[in-house]
Subunit: 272 residues, 2 copies
């Protein structure tokens, strides 16, 4: 059975033949909390006729997508990423050519580990009117949740976003973790929870101290968000327990400032 | 004359003595376009009694702040950054202690080159209920404007945010540009337009090719946004013309994908 078969398909019957040309908005949904999409992103959802969404964007969809809008799920349950990416592209093009206003809703920001670049390029090749609406990326949402500034005067003036599981894909070879360890920058690891121990070992080999502070944030901005403050040595030893996806690790001296987490959570709850 | 004297001050008369405790929301305004603040950020503005804002947040304020809300400008025209930062902190604490709902509105994301960490720490020390509402940071807004993904399969799986003018402030010493040149990561330079030539020289010394693509984006997301696509060599020679602040440079192989800029601009205009 084709893994895509379990997903929803567009209803071809509703595609009129004499409509105005359609368009695709590639919209960043933000980190998960429906309040953290942009006003424009929410407006695009409210006006959408079709929304093509994946795993990270479900809550945002439930909050802002009108009931008459068609929703097409194309997340991980739909199969292998590479085959899926071609199907998603074909779907967007077909829906737009049928004259529909399409929103491609992606978790976080479309251009930070979101494959938004590939989708945008395909739309442009196909001559579809399109735009990118940026979103709050997971690192800044995690930082806000933990009370950890990503840059701070006197601590660091650089921040790096990395994934822990994409080393084989780059033509420049695997990520040189030892070089990153020496930059003095804040390192934000996206979705790297499965190999945090291995990354910590390489950072240590690059000279990063085992006492380097780390903030682990799982499901940033969601109701079940969790922040844990620990040290690089805890990652080395694997003594940080279970960690629910999507997760983000903020590694750097800035994580010393994270004592604010409790107070932040309380106001957020009071204002919810 | 004290440089702060030209700024607005809070109206002490309106501060009641028997009100509930106030609070401060440190809100990221996003890159400038009022549509690119988050829904929560806009809601906090709509409910604010006092907004303390600076240069980058003016358009957002005009769009979403209710007329009866007091607006206090504390941007660059108010004087030296270090003195100003203490005044801003004192102002936030005083307004919250007077029982008011305060929004501290900051351009971009509060925790990416926004000094939000310092302000948050001061509020927590003072015992003020507070939160951080993240925002769309300039790099992702510039990327969306230029059609340049910050990461892309087969090109790079890392992105770095840096400032071009903060080298003396870090205890780890000046930024090691030559090391950054060798990472194979996308480099996003915030507000670094005054010394792009110097940065380009150091990146070249680190082995980055003069042919490396660069997207220069000024006033990303604003009506007068401008995208220029060039090469590191153009930065070296200074042949890129005037560049209006706030500006952002995206340096890396991903900038080859930027041919999309024209199409993106057209849909954005059609939807405005």
């Amino acid at each position: 059975m084709n893994p895509f078969d379990s997903c929803q398909y567009p209803d071809q019957e509703t595609s009129g033949m004499n409509r105005a040309p359609g368009s695709v908005s590639i919209v960043g949904a933000g980190p998960g909390d429906p309040g953290l999409i942009t006003v424009r992103g929410r407006d695009r959802l409210a006006a959408a006729e079709v929304v093509i969404y994946d795993d990270l964007a479900g809550g945002v969809l439930a909050a802002w997508c009108p009931p008459e809008c068609q929703r097409i799920y194309v997340g991980k349950r739909c199969g292998r990423i590479s085959a899926l990416q071609n199907r998603i592209t074909a779907l967007m093009v077909a829906e737009a050519r049928a004259g529909r206003r399409v929103v491609r809703l992606k978790g976080g920001d479309p251009f930070v580990f979101g494959r938004g670049g590939e989708e945008l390029a395909a739309l442009i090749r196909a001559g579809i009117p399109c735009e990118v609406v940026p979103g709050v990326t997971a690192a800044t949402a995690a930082a806000a949740a933990a009370g950890v500034p990503l840059t701070q005067r006197g601590i660091t003036s650089a921040v790096v976003f990395l994934t822990g599981h994409e080393s084989a894909e780059s033509p420049t070879g695997p990520i040189d973790w030892e070089a990153y360890a020496r930059l003095g920058a804040t390192l934000c690891l996206y979705m790297g929870t499965s190999n945090l121990g291995e990354v910590a070992r390489k950072l240590t080999a690059g000279g990063m101290a085992a006492g380097m502070p780390v903030a682990l944030v799982s499901r940033a901005s969601c109701a079940d968000q969790r922040v844990r403050l620990l040290r690089l040595g805890d990652l080395l030893r694997g003594t940080f327990g279970a960690f629910e996806a999507p997760g983000l690790a903020i590694i750097g001296e800035v994580a010393r400032v994270a004592s604010a987490a409790g107070e932040l959570a309380s106001l957020a709850a009071a204002n919810a």
